[in-house]
Amino acid sequence: MTSSGNDFPVAPRPSGRLIDARLHLLDRQLFDADDAPVGIVDDLDIDIPMDVDIAGSVPAPLVTGILTGQVLATRIFGGRPPRAKLQAVPWRLITKIGTVVQLSAHAQDFDSLWLEHWLRDHIIRRIPGGRRAAQ
C-alpha cells in the first residue's frame, strides 16, 4: 500500500537504515547485558537545536539516548511524565536493535527498577523460597 497514491517525489536515500521511531523503537522491550528485561522504550532524547536556522550545512539532529521509566499513570490517564521520572539511557549503551533493544548495561544500573528491587528485598525474600531463583 502506498501513501494514498500521491505523486510526491521519492525521498532521497541516506546512508544507513531508515526506521520510524514510533513504529520501530517506541514500546520495544529493553534487555540488559544478561538478557533480563529492564523496561521499555518510553521516549527518545533528540538533540534538536532551538532558535537556530538549520537550513543548509547544519547537520541533522541526533538521537542521543532513549528514555525509560514509570509511565503507567500517563498511559492510562494521558499526559506526559515529567522528565525527572524518566531515566536516560545513552545511545552508546545500545548494542542491538531488533524486536527488542539490547543494552550493554546491567539491570542494577537502572534507577527505574527501584520499585521492583524494593519489593524483592523487602517482601519477596521474606516469602519461603523467595531467596532463590526458580529453576
Binding site: 500500500m1 501513501s3 517525489p9 531508515l18 514510533r22 521516549d43 532524547d45 537550513a55 506526559r80 545511545w91
Partner: protein, 178 residues
C-alpha cells in the same frame, strides 16, 4: 527535546492553516543494527492530514494485505507525506514563515521550505534523477517561551495547501494554534 514533544504536533503552512499532524519521525541509522548502531539522525517527519495515529508501517511498502485493513488505513491516512529535516540538495528556503509569536500565546514554531513534500514510501535505491524537491524543516524556535514548553507548531507547505491554492479555496482551519 523529547520525541513525544514532536509527535502529534500540528503542522501549519505559511498562512497559519493546519495541514496535518506529526504522526512519526523517520530516523537514519548508520552502522549495523545488530552491533552497536550509530546514533540515529533525524531524517524527516511523517505528516498525516487527517489523523494523529500511526500508519503502522503500511506507508513504507507496497503491502496490500489484509485488504480490509489496508483499505481502512489508506483512507485514514490519505495524503500522508514525508517532510525532510535536512537534505543537502535542498535549496535555500524560499520563504521564512516563522513569525514572532506573541507573548500571550508563547507559541513555538518551525520553518520549512516552500518545496513540495516527498513520498513516505522508502525507495529501493537512491533515484538517479532526483530533483531535490523536498519540503524540509529549516528551523525550530522557541518563540517567546518562558515556561520551558516545547515546540508546538510546525509550519510547512503540504498537499492540502497546494490543493487549496490550485482550487482557489480559502478554507480556514478551525483549530486554534497551541
Amino acid at each position: 527535546m523529547q520525541l513525544s514533544e514532536l509527535l502529534e504536533l500540528p503542522l501549519r503552512d505559511a498562512a497559519g492553516q493546519q495541514v496535518g499532524t506529526v504522526v512519526d519521525v523517520r530516523l537514519a541509522i548508520g552502522g549495523d543494527l545488530d552491533d552497536r548502531p550509530d546514533e540515529p539522525a533525524l531524517f524527516g517527519l511523517i505528516i498525516s492530514p487527517h489523523t494523529q495515529s500511526s500508519y503502522l508501517g503500511y506507508e513504507r511498502s507496497d503491502a496490500r494485505r489484509p485488504t480490509l485493513l489496508a483499505a481502512l488505513l489508506r483512507w485514514r491516512h490519505r495524503g500522508t507525506f514525508l517532510t525532510l529535516w535536512h537534505a543537502s540538495r535542498v535549496s535555500a528556503p524560499s520563504r521564512s514563515y516563522c513569525g514572532r509569536a506573541s507573548s500571550a500565546t508563547r507559541r513555538c514554531c518551525a520553518t520549512m521550505t516552500n518545496a513540495p513534500p516527498v513520498n513516505t514510501k522508502i525507495p529501493a535505491e537512491f533515484p538517479a534523477k532526483h530533483t531535490g524537491l523536498e519540503s524540509t524543516v529549516v528551523g525550530i524556535s522557541r518563540c517567546g517561551s518562558t515556561m520551558g514548553e516545547a515546540c508546538r507548531t510546525l509550519r510547512s507547505n503540504s498537499p492540502q495547501r497546494r490543493r487549496r491554492k490550485r482550487h482557489g479555496a480559502s478554507r480556514r482551519h478551525s483549530r486554534a494554534p497551541l
